[in-house]
């Protein structure tokens, strides 16, 4: 502790260099945290899904709808508490740029199957009792200024059909960029060929133990029909979307590794310059009795403090920026864009490691010089 002042003086000796090094560290940490947050969002579906829920889709592909008649048979499977159809409408609000998910559902079951959706009882009441009613996620309100009572029209290219809804409630929880409306209402409007279909069925099991059994039971019921099903836990279903991305995830990890390596180079180079320039001083310190270990420790402390300041600004800055600007509003399927605590802690550990590794070689080298060698240095 008695050398704190010396370390601090050294850090402040070349203020510009310290500032530049910290800035470089700050932007790199910001970038790493951003990419890690993107990865978190890619994986969120499979890590945060409900253990009680299963999704049943057409075995061939999600792009194929299934007959609504499946629903009654799914409900008879032991262990199934509730089941509800999801019908992807693909409706576009005014312009193709305004992409958000909209599903026709069984309004009376929505709350039972998706308990994470939160809305006042009055709004639930208003939604379920109005066939034309729709509920919108909180983020759609932020994006498009929807208000309860407002009439909006969505046009679906799948059915070449325009449908008008009246917004009856605003909900939070889940993907808040989703609009739900009544399957019954949609069914009335659709042409004969498109009636009574569902994209997926959401199934809520009584207990988590029932989930694997339900999955097998449902699939075996429909195995030899025109519309065989693939029923899996919600987390497996989410994973199938992740794998659709192919190598993008590994690619992002690779980029993060490249950034980390480049931070290491930047810090390592700065610390090497700093240490080299002070070779003569090290000779003096040694001459007045400083031990080799103490000198190394002084350099390590200096580098660690710089790394910690960079980490504080970079990590704190990223956390603040992403809390005030919600990027998830603009990225489809992203539920939030707030770095997790794990990400922030990992970024901090990374900074400390970079601080240590970048100086260790130079510090050891210079502190093992003899007094004469160090004093003779021409740096």
């Amino acid at each position: 502790m008695k050398f704190a002042k010396l370390v601090l003086k050294n850090i402040l000796r070349n203020k510009r260099r310290t500032l530049l090094t910290i800035s470089s560290l700050v932007v790199s940490l910001f970038l790493i945290i951003t990419l890690a947050t993107i990865l978190t969002e890619f994986e969120r579906g499979s890590t945060e899904s409900s253990p009680l829920r299963l999704i049943s889709r057409h075995a061939v592909s999600l792009a194929f709808p299934m007959p609504m008649a499946h629903l009654q048979r799914i409900k008879t499977v032991p262990g199934v508490k509730e089941a509800m159809p999801f019908n992807w409408f693909g409706g576009i609000y005014k312009d193709e740029k305004n992409f958000f998910a909209n599903f026709a559902v069984d309004a009376t079951k929505l709350r039972d199957v998706l308990p994470e959706l939160k809305m006042s009882d009055a709004e639930w009441q208003a939604f379920t009792s109005d066939r034309q009613g729709a509920i919108v996620g909180q983020k759609l309100v932020k994006l498009y200024g929807f208000t309860p009572g407002q009439r909006i029209t969505l046009k679906s290219p799948i059915y070449n059909q325009e449908v008008e809804f009246i917004i009856r409630g605003v909900c939070t929880g889940g993907d808040e960029k989703t609009l739900f409306f009544h399957q019954d209402y949609l069914n009335e409007l659709l042409p004969e060929w498109a009636k009574d279909r569902a994209s997926t069925f959401s199934i809520r099991a009584n207990t988590a133990d029932d989930v694997p059994r339900i999955s097998q039971a449902v699939d075996s019921i429909f195995a030899n029909t025109d519309a065989p099903t693939k029923t899996e836990s919600e987390s497996e279903f989410a994973k199938s979307f992740e794998t659709m991305l192919g190598g993008v995830k590994q690619f992002l990890y690779g980029i993060m590794a490249a950034i980390t390596f480049s931070v290491l180079l930047v810090m390592g180079n700065t610390m090497a310059m700093t240490v080299r320039e002070r070779t003569k001083e090290v000779g003096t310190l040694k001459a007045i009795g400083f031990q080799r270990g103490t000198i190394t420790a002084l350099f390590l402390a200096e580098s660690l403090i710089v790394a910690c300041i960079g980490a504080a600004i970079g990590i704190g800055g990223a956390a603040l920026i992403f809390r005030s600007i919600d990027l998830s509003l603009y990225i489809p399927n992203f539920i939030s864009f707030i770095p997790t605590t794990q990400t922030l802690v990992a970024a901090f550990v990374l900074s400390i490691a970079v601080g240590l590794i970048s100086v260790i070689y130079s510090a050891f080298r210079v502190s093992s010089l003899t007094i004469a060698e160090a004093l003779r240095s021409t740096e």
Binding site: P157, S262, N269
Partner: protein, 386 residues
């Protein structure tokens, strides 16, 4: 008078460690930029090469992709005998095709992705260049046989010759593998259109393809089909159809490339500034000497800028070398327009490499501007006394 280039070169070599570290920082920035852009470029090149210039694709009005389009048999009969459609031996060069998707597991994984299955007619092959069976044989029309693109067979389970896969309730046998000269069809499975129609119980086609006589007919025929109030169809050149998918398929990647490489460049710029400030400080006396010898402030400024830009160019070259092995490496992701896998190669093209070099040089220039100005502003006496 300008300082000889040798002066810069010597200085770069003397501080090998520092030079290399700075160059590598810039190199990594350039490499990351190139790699992400190579991914986007691979998708773009696949899509832009896919359409034939004289082919017209017809979809249901309002459809964004073949998957959500349908064309009736009557529609197709009307279309193929329209004026302007090219003929071969009295038969119109026109085909109606059917698209479906199947979900298959990727190799080595439990989960996978959607693969497009295209039902093709007798004229389809004549209207698409580049198709070639490279193993096995072509399917027999009328049988439940399929040819699979080699890329798809490499990326997904169960597509070797002799394997069976299921569409709805029917099993298809893989009888051949094909490639298609890097086009989007290399992400597809091809089967007979009539067989697929009965398998999927679909009375309609997904799209129709017409070969027109010449480029001017293309526009007039497209307009005529699109404007016909009875048809409710839209026609556009096949080339445009595929090029229009680029924005959705690769736009996000390009955005990511710009975002990541800009921030990395800022970081690398700061690092470069540090190195150059240190170089200027270390050589203060030397700069004084140069000035005494008669070199002007501008020569000193240029010398330091050149030195930094050279380091940056070395860095950019390292970056290009790091990214280059990715060129032509096969990969795949989902095309959200077709909701299915698009397989393609990373493409590190010459224009991307040139851009990478310029990008690196700019980082070096911007990063060294302030230190170089500082060097040129030293008073001779002060510099010599340092």
């Amino acid at each position: 008078m300008a300082l000889p280039l040798k002066y810069n070169l010597r200085n770069i070599i003397v501080r090998k460690g520092s030079t290399l570290a700075t160059a590598f920082t810039i190199g990594l920035t350039v490499a990351v930029f190139l790699m992400v852009m190579a991914l986007a470029r691979g998708i773009d090149l696949t899509l832009s090469s896919s359409g034939e210039p004289l082919n017209l694709i017809v979809l249901r009005e309002g459809s964004t992709a073949e998957l959500n389009s349908n064309i009736t048999r009557e529609n197709f009969n009307d279309l193929q005998y329209l004026d302007g459609v090219e003929r071969e031996a009295d038969k119109p060069l026109a085909t109606a095709e059917l698209i479906t998707l199947i979900y298959k597991a990727r190799k080595g994984m439990n989960q996978g992705s959607n693969v497009t299955v295209r039902g093709i007619g007798p004229m389809s092959l004549k209207m698409r260049s580049g198709f070639q069976t490279i193993a096995g044989r072509m399917f027999n029309p009328g049988l439940t046989e399929a040819v699979v693109s080699k890329r798809i067979a490499e990326r997904f389970q169960g597509f070797d010759i002799g394997d069976k896969f299921r569409i709805q309730t029917t099993d298809y046998t893989v009888v051949g593998l094909f490639d298609a000269g890097g086009k989007a069809f290399e992400s597809e499975i091809w089967v007979d259109v009539n067989s697929l129609a009965s398998t999927t119980n679909r009375p309609t086609f997904s799209s129709a393809l017409l070969r027109v006589k010449d480029a001017s007919t293309l526009a007039t025929l497209a307009k005529r089909i699109t404007d016909d109030p009875k048809l409710h169809l839209k026609a556009l050149s096949e080339r445009t159809f595929y090029e229009d998918q680029q924005g959705t398929a690769s736009g996000a990647l390009k955005g990511l490339a710009v975002f990541i490489s800009f921030i990395m460049a800022v970081g690398a710029g700061f690092a470069g500034m540090n190195t150059m400030y240190a170089a200027v400080a270390r050589r203060t006396k030397e700069i004084g000497t140069l000035r005494v010898l008669g070199f002007s402030r501008i020569s000193v400024l240029i010398a330091f800028l050149l030195e930094s830009v050279s380091i940056a160019l070395i860095g950019a070259a390292i970056g290009i070398l790091l990214a280059l092995p990715l060129n032509f490496v096969s990969t795949g992701t989902s095309n959200w327009v077709t909701f299915s896998e698009i397989a393609f190669n990373f493409r590190v093209t010459p224009d991307l490499m040139l851009f990478a070099l310029i990008f690196g040089a700019v980082i070096g220039f911007v990063g060294s501007l302030l230190p170089s100005i500082r060097a040129s502003r030293f008073k001779i006496v002060d510099a010599l006394r340092a």
